[in-house]
Each structure stands twice: as C-alpha cells, then as structure tokens.
Amino acid sequence: MSQFANLDWAIVILYLLGSAAIGIWSRRYIKDMSDFVVAGRSLKSHLGIATMIGTELGLVTVMFAAEKGFTGGFAAFHIAVSAGIVCLVVGWSGFIVVPLRRMGVMTIPEFYERRFGRGVRILGGLLLAFSGILNMGMFLKAGSIFVVEVTGLEGTTIKWVMTALLGLVLFYTILGGMFSIVLTDYVQFVVLSFGLIATTLFAINELGWEHIVSGVEALKGAGGFDPIASEAFGLDYVIWMIFLGLVSCAIWQTAVMRACAARSVEDVKRIYAWSSIGFLIRFLVPNFLGLCALVYFTDNPGFFPEGLEGGGLKAMPRFLGILLPSGLLGLVVAGMLAAFMSTHDSYLLCWSSVLTQDVIAPLGGDRMSTASRLKLTRLLIFAIGIFLLTWSLWYELGQDLWDYMAITGAIYFTGAFALLVAGLYWKSASRAGAYLALLVGTSAVLGLKPVQKAIKANLGIEVEWDAEIIGISTVAASTLMMILGSLLFPDRATGESVDETGKGEVTA
C-alpha cells in the first residue's frame, strides 16, 4: 500500500547520518554554558527564523495538527490563524519577549529570581521542567505511529527504530548543545518547508479542491467550516486556542529561548514577526493534509479499516504513504524525522538546562562551576531521554494528542502567564502572588483524562471536564491569585519591580 521504497530509505539514512556528523563537528564551538544553551547569543534574523520554525514545526506538531484536521475539517484552520496572528502581534509589540531579551536572561525562571526571588525561581523551574517533560511524553509514540504508517513497517520493528532515533538525538544534543541544534534546525527548515509545500500542492492536484470542499461538507456540514458551529470545537475552544497562540510563541520556554538567543532586540522583533508565518503554516498545512486524508479515506474505506471515528493520528501518515511518489516520500519522511529529532533536541536541552540552571544550581548556592553545569546538563538530557522512552510506552493517551499537550503544558504556563505579565508590567506584583499563581496553575492537571478516571475510581466523583474549560479556568484562577496575593501580601521592600526600561534592575 505504501510507496516507501529502498530509495526512500537511502535518503532517510543519509540525512540522519549527516545530522549526527553536524553534532560531532559542532562540539568544537562549545566553550561555556551560554554557548551550550543560547549559542553565545549570536543568532541573526534569518538563522533565528529558521531555527525557531525548525523547532516549532516538529513531527509531533504535524501529527496533532493533522489529527485536528481529520476530526474537525476546515474549521481546524482557526488554530493556525490564531497562532499566526498572535505571533505577529507579539513581534510588532515585543510583548513579554523584548523585556525578557533586554534583561539578558537565559531561562524564564531566571527572570523569576530577578523579579520575585530565588524561591520562586526554584519552584517555577521545577514546575516548568515537570510540565515540559510530561508534555514531551507522547512525542515518541506520535513519531512511531508516523513511521509505522508512512513506511508500512510492522509494530515490533518500529520500537527499535524509535529507540535508535532517540539515541541519535541524545548523542548529538549532548555533544553539541545549541550550536548543533541551530545547524540541524536550519537544514531541517530547508528540507521540511519545501517538502510540505510540495506535498500540499500534490494533495490538491490529486484530490481536487472542489472535491475536498464537497467531501468535508458531506461529512460534517457547516461545522466542518465554522469553528464556532463545529461539534469538535466551539467558542470556548477558539478562545483557548487564541491563548495557546500567545503561550506557544511568548511564554513557552523553547520559543522564548530563541528570543534570549537573538543578537539584539530588533532581531527579536524581526524573528517573531516573520516567524508568524511559520506558526500559521505549522498548523495550517498539517490541518489540510489531515482533512485531505479524511476525504480520501471516505472515498477509499478499504485503506482505512479503523473507521473515520478512530485512529485520527494514523490517517495523515498513511495518506502520505499512499499519495506521494518514491523519492519525494523519502525526502518528506527524512524532513519529518529531522523535525522529530529537532524538536527533541531543543526540548531536551531546554528542560535539562532549566533543571540545572534554575533548580539544582540555585539550591546549591550557585557555587557550581561551568564544567560541572555542562556535565550535569548532559547527564539530565540522558535521564530525560530514558524517561521519555518509558512514558511513551506505558501512558494511555485517552484524548486528542493536541489536548494532552495543551493540558500538560498548562500545568506550567497558566502560572507563568500571570508571573510574566504581572512581573514585567505591574510594579506591585509580589512574591506571595507569584507563589500562589504557580501553585494554582498546577490544577490544570485535572484536564488529563487518566487523572479524571483516577478521581472517579478513587473518590467516586464524576469528572468529565473538557481540556479547554480546565485550561481557561486555570488561567483565570492563576491570574486572580497573582492579583489577590500581591494586594494582600505585598513585598516587604515596596515598589520592587523591573525598571521602566525592562533591563532587569530590581528597585527597592
């Protein structure tokens, strides 16, 4: 059924070996923690855009966005449009990211310390790493589904393939840090961006635009186009997506790291303004491929015996395996696997450096040497990799991949949103408010289906809340706690805040 042939395997293997070679070669440029984590803060605009899109346009993004297109039709496009518009507004206004870059911090918890004190940094770092690592938990599973479906490999082989891929990522991330990530992200950006454009045109050419539209209309009616009228979405979901658009580009640590790594404030704004197209496309194209798969498998149900109600994650890769000719398929799969590794390397580096810089080093009174920090970060990258392998094999998803990711991320970013906005733009924001906002933000974990099942099983309470309701409520509660905590328990030295220029001096 799949067109994946020896030529495609050769393209994929050559590509992966090239990525490993870059990792080894980049090692010579690593001299200190700044080189390892933010590439010496030397990214210019073009490279910054390539690496930002390269990281955010991951295989997992493609998979969950395609699943949304498969279940929601054209109405899923609102996720892409929200993400693109919000990123553009952040680029124009510099909201959150410019003051952070001016402060010269490497991580968001580092900002917490400057603004709210060391305890908030440690708690924030711990929650950020916990949420981020949990968020990555399904990456390997999504990646393995992609490879199985697109290549036609059988399930047992694929576990070994994914383990080998993870090993490759660990290898070059541990060696090269941000330099290797920047270089591999660039190559991945080039391959994947042109590959996705070609694939989209191929799909339209094969199915026909009119047929795609009429197919979605026949299956889903008006709800397949209007996100408010859609059974899969609705107004509360659209609001949640607008907020997630802000989170993805301005609050999520892996994106903010690009702002921290930019050469200047002007570069930050330029990177964000131009990356908005990438943030739009990273959802839009996979959404479209997902709905093309829906139309194709409706026409050819024999190729998708799982039925249209289930197996949404499998549809897009299986559709690509059937649609694309050998050669182009190998290039797209190589780009996707590179995207898989690119997201992994950035996230592994991000969460391990947060644990080192923001939790372990501050707990030890910041007496750790640069060499020890580098060693610890590399050790943590390895440990997180082992956790991911275990988690992806054992955890039962129970909901759409995108909703799982939004909720696990929300454990951190609902509190972080309150801390960043209040900390940067409200002089009276206090340490007590920050602690309360962070702790209340953890209640987002209630949005995970296995947690809801556990509550029902152990406490007998029926919990059937949708992820978007939990998410919006947690944002509101965290923000309220930040305000109430700051008003009721102001910092002892009144007027503590980031100064007007946002350079990070705390004024007493």
Binding site: H46, A50, G84, I197, T200, G221, D226, D267, I281, F288
Partner: protein, 61 residues
C-alpha cells in the same frame, strides 16, 4: 454560508503557502550567510584561544 467559509479558508491557505514559500527562499539564503558569519566569528575565537569572541552586551545593540 458554507461557500463563504470555503472561499475564506481557500484564500487563507493559498496566501499562506505563497508567503511561506517566499520566506523559505529568503531564510534559506540568508540563513546560510548567517551560519557562515557565525562560524567564521567562532573560528576566530578558537584560533585566539577563546579571547577573540566578541561578547554582546545584554542589550545586544
């Protein structure tokens, strides 16, 4: 109503693809130049035993 939505999403997809294609070309060429200058700067720093690196200020401007 469905026709209007289909037209809107069609134009959104078309315009986004064209913009993305333009950006991809520009970033591919510009990114290559950025990598060369980034590596040349660091080659200099390695040759100088690390002393040749130009440290940007926190503002970077």
């Amino acid at each position: 109503m469905i026709g209007s939505w289909a037209t809107f999403w069609g134009w959104t997809l078309g315009i986004s693809l064209v913009l993305f294609a333009v950006i991809s070309v520009v970033v591919t060429i510009g990114g290559y130049r950025d990598i060369r200058s980034l590596l040349e700067k660091d080659e200099g720093a390695i040759d100088d035993g690390g002393g040749g690196r130009t440290d940007e200020s926190a503002d970077g401007e």
